[in-house]
């Protein structure tokens, strides 16, 4: 069941299902490597809980919760905790 990226907790992993943003934001997100099928992990949140820091494709990206709302993800099971 896809949910918004915003709902992920720190350290949770997920796969991007779709990005439903306006064309400019969507292009920016894709340029930065956020395309459907990409695996990501939430690695932290700023002191005021927003923006959120993500790890994907071996680099770290931050975006705001508002932008995270555009990204639908599918939670991945923890491999080994």
């Amino acid at each position: 069941m896809p949910s918004s990226l915003r709902t992920l907790k720190v350290n949770e992993r997920a796969r991007i299902v779709s990005i439903n943003a306006g064309s400019e934001i969507s292009r920016r997100l894709r340029d930065m490597g956020l395309v459907p099928g990409t695996d990501l992990q939430v690695i932290g949140r700023a002191p005021l809980k927003d923006p959120v820091a993500l790890r994907l494709r071996n680099f770290t990206l931050t975006l705001r919760n508002n932008e995270a709302d555009f990204i639908q993800v599918e939670k991945l099971e923890e491999d080994n905790v």
């Binding site: 779709s18 990005i19 064309s23 400019e24 934001i25 969507s26 292009r27 920016r28 997100l29 894709r30 340029d31 930065m32 490597g33 395309v35 459907p36 099928g37 690695i43 932290g44 949140r45 700023a46 002191p47 005021l48 809980k49 927003d50 923006p51 820091a53 790890r55 494709r57 071996n58 680099f59 770290t60 990206l61 931050t62 975006l63 705001r64 508002n66 932008e67």
Partner: protein
């Protein structure tokens, strides 16, 4: 015979591009990882074998779309200047994402060499990259480099020059399949474009078609000027957009990006990258640091601690060389006084040039140390964390995490300059947030305001220098934020823009990068001191010297002197009396001059804030450049007390002047902090926004500063004196 080649260095931000550029050219160049810093054109040239190689450092960008200024500039340089070769620098540890830009260069068709940078880090992470295979699959030379040590740079240039020669300037655009939904329409569009020769003198036909599908503002704008072919293309795009929306619930640009990443993945999966699993367990150093440095509670505390530590270090370390420079200029003044016979010329050299410029140059060590630390913070990757941590808070005031950078460059942690600060706002995408940042950045305590603060603090609050400086900075931030909130809820209303930013891994800054950057900024300051400030110093000296007193009045002082000389007092008393006459004459002289008249004219108003006519002269000069304020004080006071043996520093003179007290000093500090930006900043603001806003800020800031100054002086002298 020698020949020449032009290499354009391209790459994502944080790919080590600038470091490599420094390593190759040794040129003065900044290594920064936040937006705005390399938008300026950076070039260098080297001799390689028998060829002259020119190197253009393109701004770092993630893509060749028209999202940011950097991307546009990178694209324009490649398309318009047609460099012989593009060297695309990719971070070997982030190959997948960094190749996204490379693929777009391949589609453009420009001859290219790929530099696999940070190979040392890749190896540490257990990544093995089959360079030969990658080279075959991409169809371009691939060179391994380690920019920090300069390893591989010779081979890179050899390959670049060699490949450029081999390709002979021929562009060979790569055709990528974009799937059954887009390929047919791309083919149709290419036919139309080729038939009409639509922009084909600039771009390959397929590239134009793709840019239309991506709804690229710049290309479509250019196209519309060429007439009806543009309409046809736009019509075709419209149809395929509707089709994609209906059948796939997506837009063509998304499909294009997906296919590009798909291509990259398919290349990398063909045995290009192998990963040693044992190493991958290693916990990433940056991630580990981030759990502390951006921690909810510790992060902000550490941030304030780091900034405060910077003040302490700067002031403790800076004091020593500042003393040396002060005595050097003191000695210069005395020497000039001894060599040049008294008169107008001596006055010009000593009061105008040496005192004026000396007052400014004395602060060079301080500024150097401050920049050294800021550069180190930038290059280490910490500055991006500052933006990340502050974004939520800045958004409250209608700003953006990226506003932190212009603020910091303008002097948000002291000692910046509003000119590059205002220029750095161009990376803010929303015109509204940009405008709010641009209008409030000049409130920051820039390097030119520092001397004024230091002077006044030394005179009145010398016990807690660092603390007061820290408070000034906090006050500047408070005002900038509140004014921004005010502007964003009145004259520049609007929604916030997205915050999508890379957090680069922490890196030890390279000494070379930090030194080059620091030297650049210090040199900029010294140049300003040598040119604008020198000119303004001389101008102000003239304004303070002419017109001279009428003969009649001079005669009066002369008579007084004679009376003392022929009087019956002791030699000691005589000297004191003569000095007192000299001082009075100096004061009268200054008051009679053009500057004195302007200052006196403004005095009835400025008195409300406790500023006398001499302060007014300095503040008017400060419109030209804030550095001038201190030098004018220097000139005003040395002209007012003409004792050549006077060795007291300017601050102690002000401290002992009866017209001054703590509240005057505080009011002046606040006024200087807030009032109209200097002329150069105003011009830059006009360039980045419009003259209307630049003038608005001049008037608004002055009114605001004066309001605060009056408040402080009135409340202070009435209730606390």
């Amino acid at each position: 015979m020698s020949n020449s080649a032009t290499i354009a260095l391209a790459g994502n931000p944080n790919s080590g591009k600038t470091t490599l550029f420094n390593a190759i050219t040794g040129a003065r160049q900044h290594v920064g990882n936040y937006p705005g810093i390399t938008v300026d054109r950076k070039e260098g040239s080297i001799q390689f074998d028998d060829a002259r190689v020119n190197i253009v450092d393109l701004p770092g960008c993630y893509s060749l779309s028209a999202y940011s200024q950097e991307e546009l500039v990178a694209r324009q340089v490649v398309v318009e200047e047609r460099p012989d070769i593009v060297v695309d620098i990719v971070d070997a540890t982030k190959l997948e994402r960094h190749l996204y830009l490379a693929v777009q260069f391949f589609e453009l068709g420009v001859p290219m060499v790929l530099a696999l940078n940070m190979m040392d880090e890749a190896n540490k992470q257990g990544l093995q990259i089959d360079r030969k295979r990658l080279s075959t699959l991409l169809g371009c030379p691939v060179v391994e480099t380690i920019a920090r040590s300069g390893q591989g740079k010779q081979e890179l240039i050899r390959e670049a020059v060699g490949h450029a020669k081999k390709r002979g300037g021929v562009w060979e655009p790569l055709s990528i399949s974009y799937g059954p939904d887009l390929d047919p329409v791309i083919t149709q569009m290419v036919d139309v474009i080729e038939e009409q020769r639509f922009m084909t003198n600039r771009y390959p036909a397929r590239w134009v078609a793709l840019k239309y599908l991506e709804m690229d503002d710049e290309v479509m704008e250019q196209g519309r000027k060429l007439g009806e072919t543009a309409d046809r293309l736009e019509q075709m795009v419209q149809e395929v957009r509707e089709h994609c929306q209906k059948t796939l619930n997506t837009v063509p640009s998304a499909i294009i990006a997906d296919y590009r990443y798909g291509l990259i993945n398919s290349i990398l999966r063909q045995g290009v990258i192998t990963h040693e699993p044992t190493q991958s367990e290693r916990i990433d150093f940056s991630a580990k640091l981030d759990t502390v440095l951006t921690n909810r509670f510790l992060g902000p505390l550490i941030m304030v601690g780091i900034l405060y530590g910077m003040f302490q270090t700067t002031f403790t370390l800076g004091e020593i060389p500042m003393g040396w420079l002060e005595s050097l200029f003191g000695w210069l003044g005395e020497t000039a006084m001894a060599i040049i016979p008294p008169g107008m010329f001596q006055s010009l050299v000593v009061s105008g040039v040496i005192d004026g410029v000396g007052g400014v140059m004395g602060f060079v060590p301080l500024i150097a140390i401050m920049f050294l630390m800021i550069s180190a913070l930038e290059d280490s990757g910490y500055m991006a964390r500052v933006a990340y941590m502050l974004d939520r808070a800045l958004r409250l005031f209608g700003l953006h995490g990226c506003s932190a950078m212009p603020f910091i460059i303008s002097g948000g942690i002291m000692g910046g300059c509003a000119v590059p600060g205002v220029m750095a706002t161009r990376t803010l995408r929303s015109p509204k947030e940009k405008l709010a940042t641009l209008l409030t950045a000049p409130f920051m305590p820039c390097g030119a305001k520092l001397p004024v603060f230091l002077l006044l603090i030394a005179a009145f609050f010398s016990e807690n220098e660092a603390q007061i400086m820290f408070l000034i900075t906090l006050f500047a931030w408070a005002i900038a934020l509140l004014v921004s909130r005010l502007l964003r809820s009145t004259v520049i209303k609007g929604d916030p823009t997205p915050f999508v930013m890379e957090l680069p891994p922490y890196r030890m800054p390279t000494l070379r990068g930090v030194l080059i950057h620091t030297w650049e900024r210090v040199w900029h300051y010294i140049k300003k001191a040598g040119t604008v400030i020198l000119a303004v110093s001389i101008l102000l000296w003239a304004a303070m010297t002419f017109p001279g007193l009428p003969d009649q009045q001079l005669q009066l002082f002369e008579t007084e002197r004679q009376a003392v000389a022929t009087g019956t007092v002791s030699a000691e008393q005589q000297a004191t009396l003569l000095e007192e006459i000299d001082n009075r004459e100096g004061q009268v002289r200054l008051r009679h001059s053009v500057a004195g008249r302007i200052g006196t004219m403004l005095e009835p108003v400025s008195k409300l804030a406790g500023f006398d006519w001499r302060t007014n002269i300095a503040l008017v000069g400060g419109f030209a450049a804030k550095e001038v304020i201190v030098s004018t004080f220097g000139t005003a006071y040395s002209l007012g007390e003409v004792d050549p043996e006077e060795t007291e520093s300017l601050s102690s003179r002000i401290a002992t002047d009866p017209a001054w007290n703590q509240f005057t000093a505080l009011a002046l500090i606040v006024f200087v902090l807030l009032y109209a930006p200097c002329f150069v900043t105003v011009v830059t603001m006009a360039k980045e926004s419009s003259w209307r806003w630049a003038i608005f800020s001049t008037l608004f800031n002055t009114a605001l500063g004066f309001g605060f100054a009056v408040l402080i002086f009135q409340v202070g002298t009435r209730f606390f004196a």
